[in-house]
C-alpha cells in the first residue's frame, strides 16, 4: 500500500492518541520500524497488520476509527494540502460530490503510483445521491464517509450520510444534501498556496 496511506494512518493515530500509543501499535504490528515514509511503497499485509494492531491497542472498532481518520484528513491543519486539493474539486458541495468521480485520476496525476479505488456518484433525486465505492482498499468507504462529513462542514453545508449496504461488491454511501450554506464554511482562496 502506498506510503501516503500508511503515513495518513500514522498521522491520525499520533495526533489523536499520542506518539506513545502509535509506538505501541507498531510494536504489536511487529514490522520492525515505527515510522512510515510517505513516498515509499509498502506490502499490503504490513498495513493490515497495523490496522489490526490499532483495533487491539486503541480498543475501538476499526470502522469507527477509519471514519474519524477521514475527518482528520480534511479538518486537521497538518493535512491542509489535502483539504485544498479536495476543495479544488468544486465551488460548492454538490460540485465537489461530482468531482469525486475524478478523484482516483486526480490522485494519480499528483502521485503516479497512488492507486485509489473507483468512485461513482449517482444522483437519484435532487439532493439525494449515492456514492459507490469500488472494492480494492478495505475500509475505503469508512474513510470516505469521514471525508464527506468533514467536507460538508468545510463548505458549510448540511448533509445526512449513511452506509447503504453493499451492491455488486461495492460499498454504497447514501448522501442527502439538506441545505447549502447552512453554516459558515471555511474560506478557500485559489492563490493561497500557489507560490
Amino acid at each position: 500500500m502506498h506510503g501516503l496511506i500508511n503515513r495518513a494512518i500514522q498521522a491520525f493515530v499520533t495526533d489523536t492518541y499520542g506518539a506513545d500509543r502509535w509506538k505501541s501499535v507498531m510494536d504489536l504490528a511487529g514490522l520492525g520500524f515505527v515510522e512510515f515514509e510517505a513516498m515509499l511503497m509498502y506490502p499490503d499485509d504490513q498495513s493490515f497488520k497495523v490496522l489490526a494492531a490499532m483495533e487491539t491497542v486503541l480498543d475501538r472498532p476499526l470502522a469507527e476509527m477509519l471514519e474519524d481518520m477521514g475527518t482528520f484528513l480534511v479538518s486537521n491543519p497538518q493535512a491542509e494540502a489535502l483539504r485544498r486539493l479536495l476543495r479544488f474539486g468544486g465551488v460548492d458541495y454538490v460540485e465537489f460530490l461530482y468531482s469525486l468521480d475524478d478523484l482516483p485520476d486526480r490522485a494519480r496525476l499528483a502521485v503516479a503510483d497512488l492507486h485509489l479505488p473507483t468512485l461513482e456518484l449517482i444522483e437519484q433525486a435532487p439532493g439525494q445521491f449515492e456514492l459507490i465505492c469500488a472494492q480494492g482498499l478495505p475500509g475505503y468507504s469508512n474513510v470516505m464517509m469521514g471525508i464527506l462529513r468533514a467536507m460538508a462542514d468545510d463548505y458549510g453545508d448540511l448533509v445526512i450520510l449513511d452506509h447503504a449496504g453493499i451492491r455488486d461488491d461495492a460499498d454504497i454511501i447514501s448522501i442527502t444534501h439538506v441545505e447549502s450554506q447552512f453554516a459558515e464554511g471555511r474560506s478557500f482562496s485559489l492563490g493561497a498556496h500557489s507560490l
Binding site: R84, L85, A110, G191, S194
Partner: protein
Amino acid sequence: MMTPQQLSEFADQICPMHVIFDASGRITSAGPTLRKLRPDYDWVGQDFFDIIAVSRPRWVRSVDDMLRSAGVKLHMNFASDPQTGLKGVLAPLPAGGGFLNMSFGISVLEAVRDYDLTSADFSPTDLTIEMLYLVEAKSAAMEASRQLNMRLQGAKIAAEEQAFTDTLTGLKNRRALDHVLSRMIDSGKEFALMHVDLDYFKQVNDTMGHAAGDAVLQRVAQVLIDCTREVDTAVRVGGDEFILLLDGLTDAETLERIANRLIECLEEPVPFEGKLCRISASAGTSLAKEAKPRDATTLIHQADLALYAAKNAGRGQHLFYQPNMEMMG
C-alpha cells in the same frame, strides 16, 4: 446579425477576458474577469492602448497593426502596476475593429494571488483551475519526496561514516585505510606511514578482563588523536595494532619526536576500576617520498619490518625502515 450589445453579452459568457474595440481603438466591451483586474477603470470608451501595452510582436504599435496581427499570438501586459502579463489572439470584426481574447499565460499563479481570483472568474472550459490543482498537488508531492531524499541522504552519510569507523575506538578502520592510503599515493604528496603495535596489551586483557582492555584501547585512540594533527589519519587495523598516516611529513627528526612522545604517553598507566593498566608500544615507520616505490603494499610491508626490528630491539622503541631490514625479515 448580432447587435454589439448581444455580442458583448455573448462574449462575457464565453470569454470572460475579452476586449472588443472599434476601428479607432476605443473599447466597446470588456469581459468581467478583465474588469475585475482593474475595477476602477471605466473600460468602455477608453483607448485600448491606454490600458494595455503590447510587448510582442514588436511591430504592433497601433490599432491598424493590431488588426493586421489577426491570428498571431500577442504578448501584452497592463500599462499600470501591477503589470500583469497577458497573452491573446485577435480576430477582426466585420463591422470594423477587433475582438481580442486574452488569458494569463504563465503569469496566472501571481494573478490568482494578486487579484484573489476564484473559479467563477475562469471560463468552465479554461484549464486554469486544473493547472492550479496540479501545481499544488505536485508541489506537495515534491516536498514529501524532497524530505525523504534528505532523510535518505543523512542515513547514507551515517552509514558511510559507520562503514569507515572502528566502533570501539572511533578511529578509522581497515577499509578506510585502503581508501585514504590509495588517495594519498595518487595525490603524489609525501607522507609517512607509522605502524604502532601495543606491548603488554595481551597481559592486561588476560589479567584484568576485556572491559579493561577496551578502556585501554579507547585511551590509546585518544593519545593517537592528541599526538597527531587534524590532517593526519589514525587507523585501528587489528586488535592492538594501529597505523598513522602523517600527511606531508617525511622529516626524520620530527617523526622520531612524534613517535617518542606517542610511546611516552602510551606508557602512562590507565586507571580502571581502582587498578592501573600498564602498557607500552613499539613503532615502525616507512616514508613515501617521490623517489621511493609508491604502492600501499610496499609501504605497509616496510613499516612492518621496521616495527619488527623495533620489537626485537627491546620494545618501547621506534625505528625507521632501512633496506638492510629486508634480510632480517
